[in-house]
């Protein structure tokens, strides 16, 4: 049972942390996705996929019996995308 131990750390993971991670993932996706012919693909596609990415991260982090591993995966996703976004905004990727 995922809530047998560590109830609040699990809730913190599947709630705010997964949401933040999803948010940064879609922001990050806008950096590496091609803009396409109408120059909107890199904005529209991540936006449409927002609920799907959330669902994926949510169910994974809820169901993984090893809490530390779940935290590691979600934090890795979060960290990688945060770095990508910060680099892009500060002009590092240009």
């Amino acid at each position: 049972m995922v809530f047998a131990n560590w109830r609040w750390p699990r809730i913190f993971l599947v709630g705010p942390l997964v949401f933040l991670s999803t948010f940064l993932t879609v922001c990050g996706a806008s950096v590496y996705l091609p803009a396409g012919p109408a120059r909107i693909d890199n904005v529209a596609i991540p936006l449409v996929l927002f609920p799907a990415i959330w669902a994926l991260l949510f169910f994974y982090s809820y169901l993984d019996s090893r809490l530390i591993r779940a935290y590691t995966v979600v934090l890795l996703v979060l960290g990688a995308n945060l770095a990508l976004v910060l680099l892009h905004i500060s002009g590092g990727s240009q």
Binding site: S30, P37, A38, I40, D41, I45, P46, L47, H88, I89
Partner: protein
Amino acid sequence: MIRLQKDTAKDLIGLHGWMGVALGLLLYVVILTGTLAVFEQELATWANPLPEPVPTAFPKGIGPVLNDIYQRNDPAYGDEVFVFPAADGRLRALFHTHIESDEGHGVEKGVLALIDPTTLTVVDEREGEVEALFHESSSTVLTDFLVDLHVRLLLPGQWGLLLTGILGFAMLAAAVTGFVIHRHLFKDMFTLRKRGDSVLTARDAHVVAGTWNLPFAFMLAFTGAFFSFGGAIGLPAIAYVAFGGDVDTVTEEVLTPPIPTDESPAPLYDLEAIFDDARQRTGLELTGLQILHWGRADASVQMSMQTAEGKLLPDHLLYQGATGEFLGVKPSLGQEPSLGGDLAGLMSPLHFGNFAGLLSKIVWFAFGFASAYVTLSGLRLWTARRRDAPGWAWLEKLTGWVGYGLPAGLALTAAIFLTAGTELSLVFFAAAGLLALPAFWLESDRYSSLNRYLLAVLLLLLPLVRWLSGGPLGWSTLPGVLAVDLVFLLAGCGCLLSIRRKPVTPETLRLAESV
């Protein structure tokens, strides 16, 4: 059948239940109001009908009316012009420009006109800041309120969108877990024990409605979460990252028609001729109009047309404003066809179900109704099982209050609005408070029954209230209005009949949920 490990199944059942308990009631409010909002146009027309039905959104002769509005106002407002039908069929024409306010931030200022399309007369015209104009001048107050309750739960600013976005995620999770935890999903599609025959009726009804509704519940939750989060935080943040901070400039560059900038003055081409050309090219009627830079040589006229039979997305036709030259068919979003534009464009018809007239609306309404039923029956199963446990009785009463009190409260709000025309939020909260009072001395079953009786009576009274408050009565002039009356009467009768039938006892619910 999906086979899960025992622990995983238990975790998912727990998630399904707790998600429902934590957010179910708010989700029910969003689903029920969204279900009613499928018929926003019909309800808006019912509440405030024009003297006769409107055959097309943009009738012939509307061009000169728009031209008159432009001529008598500040020409700067011709910068951006949007004309679109309100839900009740009246046309709204917004002429506006972007200026800097005294405090130094950008605001939209302009003129909002309300046009009666049957007589081609301007019935209301106001000048000011755009956001305020839409609040001050609305012919669709009742449905605006309904939509606001659905989209924002009446919360201010972005908070409402954030909350409904979270509720969309909750619905998504409930749909996925409901699908995964039900081991005999397809085997049980028709398994519904006759009422009174079995203790499993209540649970069966929840599962059967949930099963048939699953694909659409998933889709509505997905698109709903997209709209709420997309509008509240997603789009601004993604656009900021994608465009390196310069959102306004790039957005304008990406979304405005590709006509070279030429600020020299030039009159707009005959609008009626442009409209006729668009009708001729597509064989369809206009549903929306956007004119940029009216009065300049680089003016553009873009029209959205009705959705063609068999299609999900409407076409948009672009014309050079000064010469009337046809520039091409545009996609819903962006200047070129693109995957991102198509995907984002698809969200609207998938969420609103308005792509095939009344037929698709009826189907979407049915799924909304089923979703509301699944949410409410799930909550009833949960609360009945824990009736004797300390601390849960309040949730049972709360479920009765929101479950039946919300539609009753909405009907009461509509009735009071039709007779007195007062501020809707106040009326709604007063009605909700009033309906909550009996919960303090009635036990929960009696309280739920009382709310259901009230709902039935109010539904039966609504047509009478509408007529007594001066609404039309003749079938020949406004069949749509009387059709809505008829639906209210039928819904009221249905509600009464459902109360008269043998009720599902709490013992039944408790047994059913424990199986």
